[in-house]
Assembly symmetry: C2
Homo-oligomer: 241 residues x 2
Amino acid sequence: MMLYIVGFGAGSPEGMTIAARQALESSSLIVGYTAYIDLLRDLLPDKELASTGMRQERERVELALREAQQRTVSLVCSGDSQLYGMAGLAYELSPSYPGAEISVIPGVTAAFSGGAVLGSPMTSDTALISLSDLLTPMEKIVRRLRCAAEGDFVIALYNPSSKKRADYLRRACDIILEYRSPETVCGYVQNIGREGENYRIMTLSELRETSVDMFTTVYIGNSDTKIVNGKMVTPRGYRNV
Amino acid sequence: MMLYIVGFGAGSPEGMTIAARQALESSSLIVGYTAYIDLLRDLLPDKELASTGMRQERERVELALREAQQRTVSLVCSGDSQLYGMAGLAYELSPSYPGAEISVIPGVTAAFSGGAVLGSPMTSDTALISLSDLLTPMEKIVRRLRCAAEGDFVIALYNPSSKKRADYLRRACDIILEYRSPETVCGYVQNIGREGENYRIMTLSELRETSVDMFTTVYIGNSDTKIVNGKMVTPRGYRNV
């Protein structure tokens, strides 16, 4: 049977695609992380839902694959289903679950939904980087930060902080400051698409002194990024065409 | 009044978010590039639609801003409204159009919708790069390719080819081959979400010898990317946790 890996978008039901909604409606079981399953309980009150806690990604994917051998299942990811999501792991584990066919339903990842709140920071070439070193070695993250800064990419940072990694955003800013002006326009968005959504725009040197929580996406502009009417805007040269 | 800058997704009506659909329905005028307006004509037969041709981005945005001084308008972009879209230009031009308030409605950009067709190439840190040098100087594109390759990012390439730029994908592959194995898993998707959608998975050295058209998105995996059951899959270490 079919296993849909569904990107849910930022957190409000309107943020999901029509294809995502259709996949959820056509499923007889929806599996996900507890917080997203709670959101879906109101939206789809008659569905069978199964949730697993944080960091139980492997258990969650195995449950979804096992059930999808018998019936149509949706596995829900916040944002997109690929980027820092479950689609890759589902494909990796799928050879052990014959009969479960995977279909990836993309969603709007946090970088894009948060960027829309800030203005249009991501108009041009962008690097998407997670600061979490749970699954990626820190030296690889540092190398990617260096390369993204050197390449003058717009940078969107996922998982910029946690209790154990309180200084990671500061360390990332220090690396980027080796290549970029301290006046580079930056911003962050908290609780994208959810209650308590808020944003701030600031310079890179101010960002270095800022504490953010794990529900935050951080943006570092490229050398062209500017502030227009209080919004963070990266131009792309159309004005000069 | 309100100007919604609406990311339409990949091209099928199901690929747009519910918020995008609501913005289009609440608008009294929808402005866009001819090809997208034709798609909307069937979907929203009673709406007033206005289209402008390719490369007429500035005219399109100015028309939308001018009309939004009087009524609710949606300006439609393929994929996302920020990335290689019109949101940045709309903010840049907005100070000349008082009374037109901008709201950016994000959409699923081609990298994500195409990635879902290939499998899950974009599970981890990703660089999004356009090979079009109409708006970005070629030396900047080359620098970004170098940095993305050196940083072992998954790379998604937009606008990989055009009549005038037939050899750009080959040149991009040559740059990336300075840093990455010729066996790196790559792929492309044509006509994402539209009639004629198709994909191919190959090595980086094979990609170098491949011709693609302008309706193609190209993916270069990172050093961990592999093929699982005929799909392009980038792992993210969950199996080792």
